[in-house]
Amino acid sequence: MARAVTTQRKTINTIIAWTIGLLIFFPILWIIILSFKAEGDAIKTPIAVLTSGWTLENYGVVQERSDYAKHFFNSVILALGSTILGLIIAVPAAWSMAFVPSKRTKDILLWMLSTKMLPAVGVLYPMYLIFIELGLLDTRIGLVVVLMLINLPIIVWMLYTYFREIPGEILEASRMDGASLREEILYVLTPMAIPGMASTVLLNVILAWNEAFWTLNLTAAKAAPLTAFIASYSSPEGLFYAKLSAASTMAIAPILIMGWFSQKQLVRGLTFGAVK
């Protein structure tokens, strides 16, 4: 039986939900507001910030001082590259774990997840040395591989839970209908798995786009993505809040817009398996 929800209760819940939502979004909103303020106004008290005049100056300066397009391009390459490479490895892995599990499947999945519990900085030194040895420092290919490895456990887990939801009887039906393994995968499994794969891709692109630890430590100029672009405004010359905010806004705008348009797909992918 559905629980009866009174109007009063509904109102309270709505207020609480909106408050939490706004609290989470507030820092981003503040960054966007600051980016349109003059440098002098940006460090004033919040009230003074809101009442001061608006300007586009920061964006001009940021664009002049550093090459947004280059960093943007690097971010796109890293996010898409690591996602595609991750899928190539994770799809067959998740496939076999979901449809032909062995006694050790659960252990392998947990072991994969456990690598996410290791603080990244713990392996920075060896990774850095490996990168120097292999000549991968400040290269896109090197970072694509690292970002892929970092997110691989999540991709495998998501795909695994998604594949598991596909009823085995449908696959068996296709076998009875005369489909070969290739035809079964092509005509039956893939179309049914596409929504799940789409959510996985979206989430992974977002994670890779926002990854800052490795991208900051393993790049200098050539392969630096937007995270490095932002970081370059918080350094030696002192703090320039307005310019830093403008750089941040430019860096998060693409992913924010993408996230906004794909939120339905994203939420469905993330809650899949938990909610039927």
């Binding site: 009823p167 009887e169 449908i170 068996e172 039906a173 296709s174 076998r175 009875m176 209908d177 005369g178 489909a179 070969s180 035809e183 005509y187 039956v188 179309p191 049914m192």
Partner: protein, 334 residues
């Protein structure tokens, strides 16, 4: 053609033997029903025939040739699943066409067969819908349509009606029987519902714990159950089983009398008891009789409405020629 033979077929999952070595012969055109309680191995047996499970030993022959290691796609059998297992992303037309597409049959021929099947199964108005937009009964028909278009050597049904409501189930039962009469193709049908088994089968295979208890026509099983398990399983309500002194009078360890073979009287009869719960179906009334001293409760079937109330004393007379006798091992005597 669809003659299927199982020779010493065995199945175990790890250490657990689900089906000990078993022999079975299914003739061309026969409607065979595997029936038994849940977990008796009937679905596993069907999946072994389909090739969806590998046998742990023995040989499966289809039309005289060894099919044991042939993959399901190449066995020429069609299967209807309990969950229907339709392809959710395809329209009804594409669902039905799928096996034909896999068999590389020409588009023209595909169209012909699809419209034939759709007509037979009353699916023509729904061909462009997706499974999600259909009712349970319609989905079931699509699943059957997908099976018949490829003209298989045999149909395998895995509890196909158990997700339907009672009224629809009776209707589909008739449709499937009808289909069998028309196509004359071998059908193997798995169910736990003995009424389905009795009404549809040419031959019933009663299974318990992977072992075939008896194979025979519905009436053979009803009139001459080979052992206590079959006696208790076939027939509704269940046969009354009576042991002790009453059975010894008939030189048996246990005797069985079906509820419909006991006559009811309010003044005379060898067995005496009191009326407990009665179930009124309109056409029949089932009385549960307590305190007879023979078994916990005896079930008696009376035709129509009989004026007996809870607590009334009642006298029962079993029909002498309808008493089944079983020995110590539970096997039929005579």
């Amino acid at each position: 053609m669809g003659r299927i033979q199982l020779k010493q077929v065995k199945k175990s999952f790890g250490e657990v033997t689900v089906i000990p070595p078993l022999d079975l012969e299914i003739n061309d055109g026969e409607f065979v029903v595997f029936v038994g309680p849940s977990g008796c191995g009937k679905s596993t047996l069907l999946r072994l025939i389909a090739g969806l499970e590998d046998v742990s030993g023995g040989v499966i022959e289809i039309d005289g040739s060894d099919a044991t290691s042939i993959p399901p796609a190449k066995r020429g059998l069609a299967m209807v699943f309990q969950s229907y297992a339709l392809y959710p992303h395809m329209t009804v037309r594409k669902n039905i066409a799928f096996p034909l597409r896999m068999a590389k049959i020409s588009t023209e021929e595909q169209e012909k067969r699809i419209s034939n099947a759709a007509e037979v199964l009353n699916l023509t108005p729904y061909l462009d819908r997706r499974p999600g937009q259909l009712s349970g009964g319609q989905r079931q028909r699509v699943a059957i349509g997908r099976a018949i278009v490829r003209e298989p050597a045999a149909f395998l049904f895995d509890e196909p009606l158990s997700n339907l409501d009672a009224a629809l189930r009776v209707g589909m039962r008739l449709e499937i029987s009808e289909l069998h009469k028309r196509l004359k193709t071998t059908m193997i049908y798995v169910t736990h519902d003995q009424v389905e088994a009795m009404t549809m089968a040419d031959k019933i295979v009663v299974l318990q714990a992977g072992v075939i208890e008896q194979v025979g026509s519905p009436l053979e099983l009803y009139h001459t159950p080979r052992n206590l398990f079959v006696a208790g399983f076939i027939g509704s309500p269940k046969m009354n089983l009576i042991g002790g002194a009453e059975a010894e009078k008939h030189n048996a360890h246990t005797i069985g009398v079906r509820p419909e073979h006991i006559e009811v009287s309010d003044h005379e009869g060898p067995w005496r008891g009191t009326v407990g719960v009665s179930e009124h179906l309109g056409s029949d009334t089932f009385f549960h009789i307590n305190g007879t001293g023979l078994a916990d409760a005896l079930t008696v079937r009376a035709s129509g409405e009989v004026g007996l109330n809870r607590g009334d004393t009642i006298f029962l007379t079993p029909q002498a020629d309808k008493i089944h006798r079983f020995d110590q091992q539970g096997l039929r005597i005579g």
